[in-house]
Protein backbone atom coordinates (compact mmCIF):
# COMPACT_ATOMS: atom_id res chain seq x y z
CA UNK A 1 0.00 0.00 0.00
CA UNK A 2 1.46 3.36 -0.93
CA UNK A 3 0.54 6.76 0.36
CA UNK A 4 -0.48 7.93 -3.09
CA UNK A 5 -3.33 5.50 -3.68
CA UNK A 6 -4.66 5.70 -0.14
CA UNK A 7 -6.77 8.71 0.73
CA UNK A 8 -5.33 10.40 3.78
CA UNK A 9 -7.44 10.68 6.88
CA UNK A 10 -7.88 14.13 8.28
CA UNK A 11 -7.79 15.18 11.91
CA UNK A 12 -10.54 17.41 13.33
CA UNK A 13 -8.10 20.34 13.37
CA UNK A 14 -7.24 19.99 9.68
CA UNK A 15 -8.87 23.28 8.67
CA UNK A 16 -7.22 25.13 11.54
CA UNK A 17 -3.78 23.78 10.56
CA UNK A 18 -4.29 25.00 6.99
CA UNK A 19 -5.55 28.36 8.22
CA UNK A 20 -2.35 28.67 10.30
CA UNK A 21 -0.29 27.98 7.18
CA UNK A 22 0.88 24.50 8.12
CA UNK A 23 2.73 22.35 5.67
CA UNK A 24 0.70 19.14 5.74
CA UNK A 25 2.39 15.80 5.09
CA UNK A 26 1.24 12.19 5.12
CA UNK A 27 2.01 10.57 8.45
CA UNK A 28 0.69 7.18 9.56
CA UNK A 29 -2.20 7.53 7.13
CA UNK A 30 -3.14 11.04 8.22
CA UNK A 31 -2.51 14.46 6.76
CA UNK A 32 -0.59 16.08 9.61
CA UNK A 33 1.16 19.42 10.09
CA UNK A 34 4.94 18.92 9.88
CA UNK A 35 5.64 22.62 10.39
CA UNK A 36 4.01 26.03 10.35
CA UNK A 37 5.44 29.14 8.68
CA UNK A 38 7.87 29.80 11.56
CA UNK A 39 9.72 26.60 10.63
CA UNK A 40 10.98 23.61 12.58
CA UNK A 41 13.92 25.40 14.17
CA UNK A 42 11.86 28.29 15.55
CA UNK A 43 9.10 25.95 16.72
CA UNK A 44 11.62 23.73 18.47
CA UNK A 45 13.37 26.61 20.23
CA UNK A 46 10.07 28.24 21.15
CA UNK A 47 8.91 25.00 22.77
CA UNK A 48 12.06 24.94 24.91
CA UNK A 49 11.87 28.64 25.84
CA UNK A 50 8.11 29.28 25.99
CA UNK A 51 5.31 26.92 24.93
CA UNK A 52 3.94 25.24 21.83
CA UNK A 53 0.77 23.43 20.93
CA UNK A 54 1.04 20.16 19.02
CA UNK A 55 -1.85 18.28 17.47
CA UNK A 56 -1.30 14.60 18.12
CA UNK A 57 -4.82 13.51 17.25
CA UNK A 58 -3.50 10.84 14.91
CA UNK A 59 -2.47 8.87 17.98
CA UNK A 60 -4.79 6.20 19.27
CA UNK A 61 -6.80 6.47 22.45
CA UNK A 62 -8.47 3.49 24.05
CA UNK A 63 -10.05 2.48 27.30
CA UNK A 64 -10.39 -0.73 29.20
CA UNK A 65 -13.13 -1.10 31.79
CA UNK A 66 -13.93 -3.96 34.09
CA UNK A 67 -13.00 -5.63 37.35
CA UNK A 68 -10.15 -7.54 35.68
CA UNK A 69 -8.81 -4.59 33.64
CA UNK A 70 -5.55 -4.20 35.57
CA UNK A 71 -4.80 -7.90 35.79
CA UNK A 72 -5.52 -8.47 32.10
CA UNK A 73 -3.51 -5.50 30.85
CA UNK A 74 -0.58 -6.74 32.96
CA UNK A 75 -0.71 -9.93 30.89
CA UNK A 76 0.30 -7.82 27.85
CA UNK A 77 2.72 -5.23 29.25
CA UNK A 78 5.68 -5.51 31.65
CA UNK A 79 4.63 -2.40 33.58
CA UNK A 80 3.32 -2.47 37.12
CA UNK A 81 -0.27 -1.44 36.58
CA UNK A 82 -1.38 -2.87 39.91
CA UNK A 83 0.89 -0.45 41.78
CA UNK A 84 -0.13 2.49 39.61
CA UNK A 85 -2.01 4.93 41.80
CA UNK A 86 -5.42 6.30 40.95
CA UNK A 87 -5.05 9.33 38.71
CA UNK A 88 -1.52 8.35 37.73
CA UNK A 89 -0.01 7.71 34.31
CA UNK A 90 2.79 5.35 33.37
CA UNK A 91 4.86 4.69 30.23
CA UNK A 92 4.95 1.08 29.10
CA UNK A 93 5.19 -1.22 26.09
CA UNK A 94 3.30 -4.13 24.57
CA UNK A 95 5.73 -7.02 24.14
CA UNK A 96 5.65 -10.07 21.89
CA UNK A 97 6.61 -13.63 22.75
CA UNK A 98 10.27 -12.90 21.94
CA UNK A 99 10.34 -9.92 24.28
CA UNK A 100 10.28 -7.53 21.31
CA UNK A 101 8.26 -4.34 21.51
CA UNK A 102 4.95 -4.20 19.61
CA UNK A 103 4.31 -0.58 20.59
CA UNK A 104 4.97 1.85 23.38
CA UNK A 105 2.07 3.47 25.17
CA UNK A 106 0.85 5.57 28.05
CA UNK A 107 -1.39 3.90 30.59
CA UNK A 108 -3.48 5.96 33.00
CA UNK A 109 -5.56 4.65 35.85
CA UNK A 110 -8.83 6.57 36.05
CA UNK A 111 -10.31 4.03 38.48
CA UNK A 112 -9.27 0.56 39.67
CA UNK A 113 -11.52 -0.82 36.93
CA UNK A 114 -10.93 1.86 34.30
CA UNK A 115 -7.70 2.31 32.32
CA UNK A 116 -7.03 4.89 29.62
CA UNK A 117 -4.41 4.19 26.97
CA UNK A 118 -2.66 6.37 24.42
CA UNK A 119 -0.99 4.40 21.64
CA UNK A 120 0.94 5.19 18.46
CA UNK A 121 -0.90 6.16 15.28
CA UNK A 122 0.87 3.66 13.06
CA UNK A 123 0.30 0.83 15.53
CA UNK A 124 -3.19 1.59 16.76
CA UNK A 125 -5.13 -0.90 14.68
CA UNK A 126 -2.65 -3.69 15.39
CA UNK A 127 -2.65 -2.75 19.08
CA UNK A 128 -6.39 -2.82 19.23
CA UNK A 129 -6.52 -6.20 17.48
CA UNK A 130 -3.93 -7.42 19.99
CA UNK A 131 -5.98 -6.14 22.92
CA UNK A 132 -9.13 -7.63 21.46
CA UNK A 133 -7.51 -11.01 20.85
CA UNK A 134 -6.47 -11.26 24.48
CA UNK A 135 -9.08 -9.32 26.41
CA UNK A 136 -12.34 -9.52 24.47
CA UNK A 137 -15.20 -10.93 26.47
CA UNK A 138 -13.30 -10.43 29.73
CA UNK A 139 -13.40 -6.63 29.90
CA UNK A 140 -15.06 -3.78 28.09
CA UNK A 141 -12.67 -2.56 25.43
CA UNK A 142 -13.16 0.62 23.45
CA UNK A 143 -11.11 2.36 20.83
CA UNK A 144 -11.85 6.04 21.33
CA UNK A 145 -12.47 7.53 17.89
CA UNK A 146 -14.41 10.62 18.92
CA UNK A 147 -11.64 12.42 20.77
CA UNK A 148 -8.68 14.53 19.65
CA UNK A 149 -5.38 14.84 21.47
CA UNK A 150 -3.48 18.09 21.91
CA UNK A 151 -0.11 18.54 23.58
CA UNK A 152 0.82 21.84 25.20
CA UNK A 153 4.55 21.69 25.90
CA UNK A 154 7.24 23.97 27.24
CA UNK A 155 8.34 25.87 30.33
CA UNK A 156 5.61 28.42 29.60
CA UNK A 157 2.89 25.76 29.45
CA UNK A 158 1.97 26.19 33.11
CA UNK A 159 1.48 29.95 32.78
CA UNK A 160 -0.56 29.50 29.62
CA UNK A 161 -2.64 26.75 31.22
CA UNK A 162 -3.21 28.90 34.32
CA UNK A 163 -5.20 31.33 32.19
CA UNK A 164 -7.46 28.57 30.89
CA UNK A 165 -7.63 26.04 33.69
CA UNK A 166 -6.30 27.15 37.08
CA UNK A 167 -6.88 23.74 38.68
CA UNK A 168 -4.47 22.06 36.25
CA UNK A 169 -1.59 23.79 38.01
CA UNK A 170 -2.00 21.43 40.95
CA UNK A 171 -1.23 18.43 38.75
CA UNK A 172 2.26 16.93 38.82
CA UNK A 173 4.17 15.01 36.15
CA UNK A 174 2.43 11.80 35.08
CA UNK A 175 -0.91 12.47 36.72
CA UNK A 176 -4.27 12.56 34.97
CA UNK A 177 -7.43 14.48 35.76
CA UNK A 178 -10.76 15.51 34.32
CA UNK A 179 -10.43 19.26 34.03
CA UNK A 180 -12.26 22.11 32.36
CA UNK A 181 -10.00 23.98 29.95
CA UNK A 182 -11.42 27.17 28.43
CA UNK A 183 -14.84 26.01 29.52
CA UNK A 184 -14.43 22.63 27.79
CA UNK A 185 -14.41 19.32 29.63
CA UNK A 186 -11.13 17.54 28.96
CA UNK A 187 -9.09 14.62 30.20
CA UNK A 188 -5.58 15.92 30.78
CA UNK A 189 -2.31 14.30 31.78
CA UNK A 190 0.65 16.36 32.86
CA UNK A 191 2.97 14.70 30.41
CA UNK A 192 4.24 14.96 26.88
CA UNK A 193 7.05 13.79 24.71
CA UNK A 194 9.38 16.76 24.39
CA UNK A 195 11.23 16.60 27.72
CA UNK A 196 9.43 19.75 28.83
CA UNK A 197 6.68 20.41 31.32
CA UNK A 198 3.22 20.37 29.80
CA UNK A 199 -0.05 18.61 29.29
CA UNK A 200 -1.55 16.16 26.83
CA UNK A 201 -5.21 16.96 26.56
CA UNK A 202 -7.85 14.57 25.27
CA UNK A 203 -10.91 16.46 24.07
CA UNK A 204 -14.10 15.62 22.20
CA UNK A 205 -13.57 16.09 18.44
CA UNK A 206 -16.44 18.57 18.36
CA UNK A 207 -14.63 20.81 20.87
CA UNK A 208 -11.08 20.35 19.56
CA UNK A 209 -10.91 23.47 17.44
CA UNK A 210 -12.40 25.69 20.11
CA UNK A 211 -9.89 24.32 22.61
CA UNK A 212 -6.95 24.66 20.23
CA UNK A 213 -7.85 28.26 19.45
CA UNK A 214 -8.16 29.07 23.15
CA UNK A 215 -4.75 27.54 23.91
CA UNK A 216 -3.12 29.27 20.94
CA UNK A 217 -4.53 32.57 22.21
CA UNK A 218 -2.90 32.05 25.63
CA UNK A 219 0.28 34.05 26.30
CA UNK A 220 3.43 32.72 24.65
CA UNK A 221 1.91 29.77 22.82
CA UNK A 222 2.68 29.06 19.16
CA UNK A 223 1.70 26.07 17.06
CA UNK A 224 4.37 23.46 16.37
CA UNK A 225 4.37 20.51 14.02
CA UNK A 226 5.66 16.98 13.86
CA UNK A 227 9.09 18.18 12.70
CA UNK A 228 9.76 19.99 15.95
CA UNK A 229 8.15 17.20 17.93
CA UNK A 230 10.68 14.78 16.47
CA UNK A 231 13.76 16.90 17.16
CA UNK A 232 12.48 17.67 20.68
CA UNK A 233 11.91 14.02 21.57
CA UNK A 234 15.30 13.05 20.12
CA UNK A 235 17.10 15.63 22.28
CA UNK A 236 15.05 14.35 25.22
CA UNK A 237 16.35 10.83 24.50
CA UNK A 238 12.83 9.48 24.07
CA UNK A 239 12.17 6.51 21.81
CA UNK A 240 10.20 6.77 18.60
CA UNK A 241 8.42 3.54 17.79
CA UNK A 242 9.53 2.13 14.46
CA UNK A 243 12.86 3.95 14.64
CA UNK A 244 14.34 3.38 18.09
CA UNK A 245 12.24 0.48 19.25
CA UNK A 246 10.39 -2.25 17.39
CA UNK A 247 9.70 -5.97 17.46
CA UNK A 248 13.44 -6.72 17.24
CA UNK A 249 14.33 -4.77 20.38
CA UNK A 250 13.47 -5.67 23.95
CA UNK A 251 12.93 -3.10 26.71
CA UNK A 252 16.34 -4.09 28.11
CA UNK A 253 18.08 -3.48 24.78
CA UNK A 254 16.17 -0.23 24.36
CA UNK A 255 17.49 0.87 27.76
CA UNK A 256 14.00 1.38 29.09
CA UNK A 257 14.12 -1.47 31.60
CA UNK A 258 13.12 1.15 34.20
CA UNK A 259 9.55 0.66 33.01
CA UNK A 260 9.55 -2.65 34.91
CA UNK A 261 9.07 -2.74 38.66
CA UNK A 262 10.80 -5.21 40.96
CA UNK A 263 7.61 -7.28 41.16
CA UNK A 264 7.10 -7.54 37.42
CA UNK A 265 10.79 -8.39 36.85
CA UNK A 266 10.49 -11.20 39.37
CA UNK A 267 7.04 -12.47 38.49
CA UNK A 268 7.05 -12.03 34.72
CA UNK A 269 3.64 -12.92 33.37
CA UNK A 270 3.82 -10.83 30.18
CA UNK A 271 4.71 -11.94 26.63
CA UNK A 272 8.40 -12.63 26.20
CA UNK A 273 9.03 -12.45 29.96
CA UNK A 274 11.57 -15.27 29.88
CA UNK A 275 13.70 -13.50 27.25
CA UNK A 276 13.52 -10.20 29.09
CA UNK A 277 14.25 -11.75 32.50
CA UNK A 278 17.31 -13.48 31.05
CA UNK A 279 18.56 -10.18 29.64
CA UNK A 280 17.92 -8.45 32.96
CA UNK A 281 20.04 -11.09 34.69
CA UNK A 282 22.80 -11.48 32.12
CA UNK A 283 22.67 -8.21 30.20
CA UNK A 284 21.46 -7.59 26.67
CA UNK A 285 23.76 -8.18 23.69
CA UNK A 286 23.17 -4.68 22.33
CA UNK A 287 21.95 -1.46 23.93
CA UNK A 288 20.43 1.81 22.79
CA UNK A 289 22.76 4.65 23.69
CA UNK A 290 23.05 8.36 23.06
CA UNK A 291 25.66 9.14 20.42
CA UNK A 292 27.15 12.56 19.87
CA UNK A 293 29.09 13.20 16.67
CA UNK A 294 32.25 15.16 17.52
CA UNK A 295 32.02 17.23 14.33
CA UNK A 296 29.15 19.25 12.96
CA UNK A 297 27.71 16.78 10.46
CA UNK A 298 24.44 15.20 11.57
CA UNK A 299 24.26 11.40 11.38
CA UNK A 300 20.82 10.29 10.26
CA UNK A 301 18.95 7.05 10.91
CA UNK A 302 20.69 3.93 9.53
CA UNK A 303 24.14 5.56 9.57
CA UNK A 304 26.65 2.78 10.22
CA UNK A 305 28.39 2.81 13.61
CA UNK A 306 31.86 1.25 13.77
CA UNK A 307 34.58 0.96 16.37
CA UNK A 308 37.76 2.98 15.92
CA UNK A 309 39.25 0.20 13.81
CA UNK A 310 36.29 0.27 11.43
CA UNK A 311 34.50 -2.87 12.60
CA UNK A 312 30.75 -2.60 12.25
CA UNK A 313 28.96 -2.25 15.61
CA UNK A 314 25.45 -1.28 14.60
CA UNK A 315 23.53 1.67 13.26
CA UNK A 316 21.98 4.96 14.24
CA UNK A 317 18.26 4.59 14.92
CA UNK A 318 17.44 8.31 15.21
CA UNK A 319 19.74 11.17 14.46
CA UNK A 320 19.84 14.71 13.27
CA UNK A 321 20.48 18.24 14.36
CA UNK A 322 19.48 19.18 17.88
CA UNK A 323 18.51 22.86 17.82
CA UNK A 324 18.77 23.23 21.61
CA UNK A 325 21.83 20.99 21.87
CA UNK A 326 23.34 23.26 19.20
CA UNK A 327 24.74 20.43 17.13
CA UNK A 328 24.19 16.92 15.89
CA UNK A 329 22.64 14.36 18.25
CA UNK A 330 21.77 10.72 17.69
CA UNK A 331 20.82 7.46 19.29
CA UNK A 332 21.92 4.04 18.15
CA UNK A 333 22.40 0.42 19.09
CA UNK A 334 25.87 -0.83 19.99
CA UNK A 335 27.18 -4.02 21.62
CA UNK A 336 27.01 -3.72 25.41
CA UNK A 337 30.82 -3.52 25.64
CA UNK A 338 30.67 -0.24 23.68
CA UNK A 339 27.80 1.30 25.62
CA UNK A 340 29.83 3.10 28.27
CA UNK A 341 29.54 6.88 28.24
CA UNK A 342 32.54 8.40 26.50
CA UNK A 343 33.29 5.32 24.39
CA UNK A 344 34.81 6.46 21.11
CA UNK A 345 32.97 5.42 17.96
CA UNK A 346 33.02 6.21 14.27
CA UNK A 347 29.97 7.08 12.19
CA UNK A 348 30.13 6.45 8.48
CA UNK A 349 28.51 9.54 6.97
CA UNK A 350 28.58 9.72 3.16
CA UNK A 351 31.39 7.20 3.07
CA UNK A 352 33.57 9.04 5.57
CA UNK A 353 34.25 7.75 9.08
CA UNK A 354 33.49 10.60 11.46
CA UNK A 355 34.51 10.72 15.12
CA UNK A 356 31.72 10.34 17.68
CA UNK A 357 31.27 9.17 21.24
CA UNK A 358 28.67 7.58 23.46
CA UNK A 359 26.89 10.39 25.29
CA UNK A 360 24.58 10.51 28.27
CA UNK A 361 20.87 10.76 27.51
CA UNK A 362 19.00 13.04 27.45
CA UNK A 363 20.95 15.59 25.42
CA UNK A 364 18.80 18.33 26.91
CA UNK A 365 17.75 17.91 30.56
CA UNK A 366 14.14 16.97 31.23
CA UNK A 367 12.15 19.69 32.94
CA UNK A 368 9.08 17.86 34.11
CA UNK A 369 6.98 19.36 36.88
CA UNK A 370 7.40 17.03 39.83
CA UNK A 371 5.75 19.36 42.33
Amino acid sequence: MTQSDTPLLTVPLDALHRELGAKMVPFAGYAMPVQYPAGVLAEHLHTRSAAALFDVSHMGQAEIKGARAVELLESLVPGDIRALGLGKTRYSVFTNDHGGILDDLMISKLAEDHLFLVINAACKHADFAHLKAHLEGKVELRMIEDRSLLALQGPGAAAAMATLCPEAGAMTFMTIAEVTVAGIKCLATRSGYTGEDGWEISVANADAEKLARAILAAPGVMPAGLGARDSLRLEAGLCLYGSDIDTTTTPVQANIAWIMSKRRRAEGGFPGAAVIQKQLAEGAPTLRVGIQPDGKAPARAHTEITDEAGNRLGEICSGGFGPSAGGPVAMGYVPAAFAGIGTKLKLVVRGKAMDAHVAALPFVPHRYFKG
Binding site: G39, V40, L41, P323
Partner: protein, 125 residues
Protein backbone atom coordinates in the same frame (compact mmCIF):
# COMPACT_ATOMS: atom_id res chain seq x y z
CA UNK B 1 17.77 40.23 -15.54
CA UNK B 2 19.71 37.54 -13.79
CA UNK B 3 22.46 35.85 -15.74
CA UNK B 4 22.07 32.75 -13.58
CA UNK B 5 21.42 29.38 -15.10
CA UNK B 6 19.56 26.67 -13.22
CA UNK B 7 19.38 22.88 -13.05
CA UNK B 8 16.28 20.77 -12.45
CA UNK B 9 17.86 19.86 -9.10
CA UNK B 10 17.69 23.55 -8.14
CA UNK B 11 21.35 24.49 -8.33
CA UNK B 12 22.27 27.81 -9.95
CA UNK B 13 25.47 28.86 -11.61
CA UNK B 14 26.64 32.31 -12.58
CA UNK B 15 29.62 32.48 -14.92
CA UNK B 16 32.17 35.26 -15.18
CA UNK B 17 34.99 34.56 -17.60
CA UNK B 18 35.81 30.89 -17.03
CA UNK B 19 34.84 30.88 -13.35
CA UNK B 20 31.39 29.72 -12.29
CA UNK B 21 29.81 30.41 -8.90
CA UNK B 22 27.37 27.71 -7.77
CA UNK B 23 24.61 27.76 -5.17
CA UNK B 24 21.12 26.45 -4.53
CA UNK B 25 18.02 28.33 -5.57
CA UNK B 26 15.76 30.27 -3.30
CA UNK B 27 13.07 27.69 -4.08
CA UNK B 28 15.42 24.94 -2.83
CA UNK B 29 16.32 26.67 0.43
CA UNK B 30 12.65 27.29 1.07
CA UNK B 31 11.76 23.66 0.41
CA UNK B 32 14.59 22.47 2.67
CA UNK B 33 13.60 24.66 5.59
CA UNK B 34 16.11 25.70 8.24
CA UNK B 35 19.58 24.81 7.01
CA UNK B 36 21.72 23.58 9.89
CA UNK B 37 24.75 22.00 8.23
CA UNK B 38 26.64 22.56 5.01
CA UNK B 39 29.63 20.80 3.50
CA UNK B 40 31.43 22.43 0.57
CA UNK B 41 34.11 20.95 -1.72
CA UNK B 42 37.80 21.70 -1.26
CA UNK B 43 39.69 23.69 -3.85
CA UNK B 44 41.31 21.49 -6.43
CA UNK B 45 38.52 18.94 -6.61
CA UNK B 46 37.72 17.84 -10.13
CA UNK B 47 33.97 17.70 -10.63
CA UNK B 48 32.16 16.16 -13.55
CA UNK B 49 28.83 17.68 -14.56
CA UNK B 50 26.18 16.22 -12.25
CA UNK B 51 28.70 14.98 -9.67
CA UNK B 52 27.93 15.29 -5.95
CA UNK B 53 29.76 18.41 -4.93
CA UNK B 54 28.34 19.61 -1.64
CA UNK B 55 25.88 18.69 1.10
CA UNK B 56 23.13 20.77 2.63
CA UNK B 57 21.17 19.56 5.65
CA UNK B 58 18.04 20.91 7.27
CA UNK B 59 16.83 19.88 10.73
CA UNK B 60 15.15 16.88 9.16
CA UNK B 61 17.02 15.82 6.05
CA UNK B 62 20.26 15.79 4.10
CA UNK B 63 20.45 16.70 0.41
CA UNK B 64 23.26 16.67 -2.09
CA UNK B 65 24.24 19.62 -4.21
CA UNK B 66 25.37 18.56 -7.68
CA UNK B 67 27.77 20.42 -9.89
CA UNK B 68 25.78 21.97 -12.76
CA UNK B 69 28.81 21.76 -15.06
CA UNK B 70 32.26 20.16 -15.18
CA UNK B 71 35.15 22.01 -13.61
CA UNK B 72 37.89 22.27 -11.02
CA UNK B 73 36.85 23.75 -7.69
CA UNK B 74 38.66 26.98 -6.92
CA UNK B 75 36.94 27.77 -3.61
CA UNK B 76 34.31 26.55 -1.17
CA UNK B 77 32.33 29.15 0.77
CA UNK B 78 33.54 28.91 4.37
CA UNK B 79 30.94 31.51 5.46
CA UNK B 80 28.05 29.06 4.97
CA UNK B 81 30.01 26.28 6.67
CA UNK B 82 30.38 28.52 9.72
CA UNK B 83 26.84 29.89 9.48
CA UNK B 84 24.59 27.43 7.62
CA UNK B 85 21.58 29.69 8.27
CA UNK B 86 22.95 32.13 5.66
CA UNK B 87 21.68 29.71 3.02
CA UNK B 88 18.13 30.52 4.11
CA UNK B 89 18.82 34.24 4.04
CA UNK B 90 20.74 34.69 0.82
CA UNK B 91 20.65 31.48 -1.23
CA UNK B 92 21.04 33.21 -4.56
CA UNK B 93 23.71 35.72 -3.56
CA UNK B 94 26.23 35.60 -0.70
CA UNK B 95 25.39 32.04 0.33
CA UNK B 96 27.00 30.48 -2.76
CA UNK B 97 28.46 27.02 -2.18
CA UNK B 98 31.56 26.86 -4.37
CA UNK B 99 33.35 28.38 -7.33
CA UNK B 100 34.85 26.34 -10.12
CA UNK B 101 36.95 26.82 -13.24
CA UNK B 102 34.87 25.49 -16.09
CA UNK B 103 36.48 22.73 -18.12
CA UNK B 104 33.63 22.57 -20.64
CA UNK B 105 31.99 26.01 -20.84
CA UNK B 106 29.59 24.76 -23.52
CA UNK B 107 27.67 22.86 -20.82
CA UNK B 108 26.28 26.11 -19.44
CA UNK B 109 24.09 26.44 -22.49
CA UNK B 110 22.24 23.24 -21.55
CA UNK B 111 20.94 24.82 -18.32
CA UNK B 112 17.71 26.76 -17.85
CA UNK B 113 17.72 30.53 -17.78
CA UNK B 114 15.67 32.38 -15.15
CA UNK B 115 12.49 32.41 -17.27
CA UNK B 116 12.75 28.71 -18.10
CA UNK B 117 13.45 27.89 -14.45
CA UNK B 118 10.48 29.94 -13.25
CA UNK B 119 8.30 28.06 -15.74
CA UNK B 120 9.77 24.76 -14.53
CA UNK B 121 8.95 25.65 -10.90
CA UNK B 122 5.33 26.21 -11.90
CA UNK B 123 5.17 22.62 -13.14
CA UNK B 124 6.22 21.46 -9.65
CA UNK B 125 3.35 23.18 -7.86
Amino acid sequence: MSSKRFTKDHEWIEVEGDIGTVGISDYAQHALGDVVFVEVPDAGRDLAKGAEAAVVESVKAASEVYSPVSGIVTAGNQAIVDQPGLVNEAAESTAWFFKLKLTNPGEVGDLMDQAAYDAYLKTLE
